[in-house]
Amino acid sequence: MSDSAHLTEAERQTLADGSMATRQARGLQAHLRACPSCAADVDRLRMIARRYGEPAPRDPVLAGLWPEIRSRIERRKVVPIPPAAASPRPAPSLRRSVLLIAGTAAGLAAAAVLWLRPARLGPGPVSDQVRARDSIQALVLVADSIRSYRDEAQVLLDRLELQRAMIRPEAMASIERDLGVIDRSIEELELAIQRDPRNPTLRQLLVSSYRQKVEVLKRVGNAG
């Protein structure tokens, strides 16, 4: 500790971020107990460090691995969806988790179909029967994907309500503006789907809008 009555800046910062040696930190704890000014400052620094620490960004190592992982996923994408079998209804909380997991899996599979489907436009004959089967399968998968995104968006909207007071007003205004734009597009698409339920493009656009909504809501965590 310095000769002055208070802890030095370095002592306060290293105490706050936990990088001070234990023995030295123990010695300074006595001063903190006796000095409300230093104690408040160290608490504040800890709060800043804690607040800054959330949410954790993506692991840089994982981010570097992502392109290879993505390409491996693309190679292995298969979409065998067995016909739904009758099964007892699980408990509500479990059912929601199962729905979310299944929906996410279906969403990934749908994305795979949408992503890879244009490959079928390549040279070589593709029978009408195969096209029709693919089209129906794609419709089912896209519908599952929409359901999955819709559920996820609702969970995130509930969370947004809880976090609303902690979000900066300018960020909240921006979030609400963006959500308004997306919700209008979703309304238009849902109306159009009611008129033309078998149109795959409408459903793919709806998936895209829901995906945008989920991503805006996920960004809320960063806007605090």
């Binding site: 960004p57 734009v181 238009e188």
Partner: protein
Amino acid sequence: MPGDRRLLLGVVVLALGASGAVQGPADGRLLAGRAVRPTVAIKAWNAAGSIRFVGWSKDSVVVRGEVGRNVRFLLSQDGDAMKLIAEQERDGSGASPSASHLVAWVPRQSALSVKTVSADITADGVGGWFYSVSGNLRITGSARSIEAETMTGNLDLDVACLWVRARAGSGRLDLRGATEAADLSTISGDLRVATSSLLRAQIASVTGDIRFAATPTAAAIVDVSDHSGSVEVVLPDNASAELALTSIAGSIENGVTGSSAMAPPSRSLNLRLGRGESRFIVRTFTGPIRLKMQPTNAGWPELR
């Protein structure tokens, strides 16, 4: 601070002073300098003003700049992680945070995690995660991967990078340079892509206009979705691509001459250019789709 580390830091600071061509007083006063591992993870926070990162080949971090009034500057290190924070002293006063203008030189292989409220972010030759509520982001140079998000600011990416994920709200998003995989979206901001190295791209907007102007790579798959904004695809006249363009209620303008349509249903246009080695899927709800060709020798106009 142990003696050897203090000595090392002294050497670093002296060395930095000697390499004025890279950084120097023109960037503001020296705020801090630390010796680090080349792969250090750096979290940075600056609410207002600007923060610029420059990747360099030294194993050290140096920060220069001007710290705003009542702003506490902190550069702390814990193993391979480092925090660079410019934080307003008093929160809750209602006053806007004072602007700090920081420039940090960091190892090229370091991984950044940068967050601001209104401060602009600039990075050159270093990758990571970049987020701002309303600040503009400009990222250039080579990096391993880049994730960039802003709610109302503009995003300008001119990078050589394997993987880019970028999100903008009402601001503009530009991607140039050389990127293999890109996942790009805006809500109402315009989105422009001019990179000829893409292998996979997912590009989406809700009401913003999308413009793709580049030579597609063989085997590339580019997926474009827009609700009510327009989509313009500009390809060179020797492009080798298959295109599936669909608009529910918008027009499709085919600027390609001599192309052969493939069994077009209503409101959609499928066509093949050359050997059809790359694939474009474009879909809109009400936005128009325009397909244009550009003479090969015309080059690509730089995005401004």
